[in-house]
Symmetry: C2
Subunit: 291 residues, 2 copies
Amino acid sequence: MKIGFIGTGVMGTGMILNLIKNNYDVTVYNRTKAHAATVIDAGAKWADSPRDLAQVVDVVITIVGFPQDVEETYYGDNGLFKSAKAGQTLIEMTTSKPSLEAKIAQTADAKGINTLDAPVSGGDVGAKNGTLTIMVGGEQAVFDQMKPILSAMGSNVNLFGGHGKGQHTKMANQIMIAGTMTGLSEMLAYGKAAGLDLSALVKTVSQGSGDNWSLDNYGPRILAGDFKPGFAAKHFLKDLRIALQESEKMAIPLPATEKAKELYEKMVDQMGLGNDGTQGLVKLYRDMKTD
Amino acid sequence: MKIGFIGTGVMGTGMILNLIKNNYDVTVYNRTKAHAATVIDAGAKWADSPRDLAQVVDVVITIVGFPQDVEETYYGDNGLFKSAKAGQTLIEMTTSKPSLEAKIAQTADAKGINTLDAPVSGGDVGAKNGTLTIMVGGEQAVFDQMKPILSAMGSNVNLFGGHGKGQHTKMANQIMIAGTMTGLSEMLAYGKAAGLDLSALVKTVSQGSGDNWSLDNYGPRILAGDFKPGFAAKHFLKDLRIALQESEKMAIPLPATEKAKELYEKMVDQMGLGNDGTQGLVKLYRDMKTD
């Protein structure tokens, strides 16, 4: 089965290398060709546009940046829908709007094309090691057919319901992380102000009922002054905005997530730290302190 | 060494049983004597007041409810300071105000009495199993002397600095948990509204970067409709109020923790659910939904 892959960023690169390792024939496209060098060196072929790519493969996987990039990839003048045809399958792995996934599914359905929404968690490390969590929405039969391909990239691959449910599951995951990241940032801000040994604090909290992945992974990085992105704050902010738009549509107020979004807006939009990792949120509190 | 123990609630009972198991001679006092039956059956002696208790022991441990209970226990007409004398040690294990701990330390110091503040985390299970995390503030020499006693109750016993630093560490711990509890509640509220299988959601999120203790322990309880307190919401709200008073004193705004406090205020003060466990916060969202 020939696979087309659009998006050779940090996530896409790891995922493509795992597909190649599993002997899939992979053709790639990326807006900036230079960023595809690693995977081309590893054996991937190149297509000049999504439109060209869809003409030479059976399955297309997309993982790009923002919802507008997804829109362009599928609906642009050189987009997938200009050439995709009945019997093909499009797998959208960008974390994006459930409503956009529904629109893509509808367009595809009218043409006899199959789609899945399949956003991931697990970061660059999970992409590299093939241990991503993949949250899928779509039809059971299509899921079953695509599962071997998804399993080449992830170790925890599950169908959560019809079109858009993969995205909804990812949004719920991000809402949980909004809590761990704000809690971690404010815990450290408080601890620093109170004159505590922050290393000892992180260790003690992680041994009790405050333990969490963000604390274990980002706590030590923050104390070492390492704000390199495992996951860029600008992308997390995008996710929180989508989650809150969706919750508003469903008439479910999420005040703590709303507050987290406001804090990430300050970090990304006002302080210009969108390319920092999500752990950079703690910088907000240092600045707040010196106000 | 003779130990006096004030407070035979859920936490105190487990802690006292572990002291007795470690062959300490324990005398207890509790405002409601009936609640001391379990430990008296296990061999603890009874004193009629904190004042009486301090006359017959070397070390007094206190773990009561709210800061006003601590105040009464130490400074009341029948309080500890009415009879405590030089050479004794008072260990305050209630989660309480760092400023009150400082005041107790000052009063004690003037009388030649040693003090430690030593709040705990780990809940009723940790108290029962002797695996509490104990966060200590005070002098190194006093800590070293008391460590065997503390180690009979906890498996993770550390000194974090001078008087009040134990309480500050506990506050930082609660700030972290405010994040995991709000995140968990809003994740489930969103997931329910989006029609996701919540068991599958909890399982998937716990396998990735959203994993945390609250999710693992309270997620399944919430889905089973179990809101029994591991830790009562009214006590958690007390802790958040103290944390925010302290952060205000230090001029460190903690907006996400402030939001968490507001949500727990709605749950405890408006909905009257203070005796539910902290996981009852999710009920707020169900009600918000049906508004």
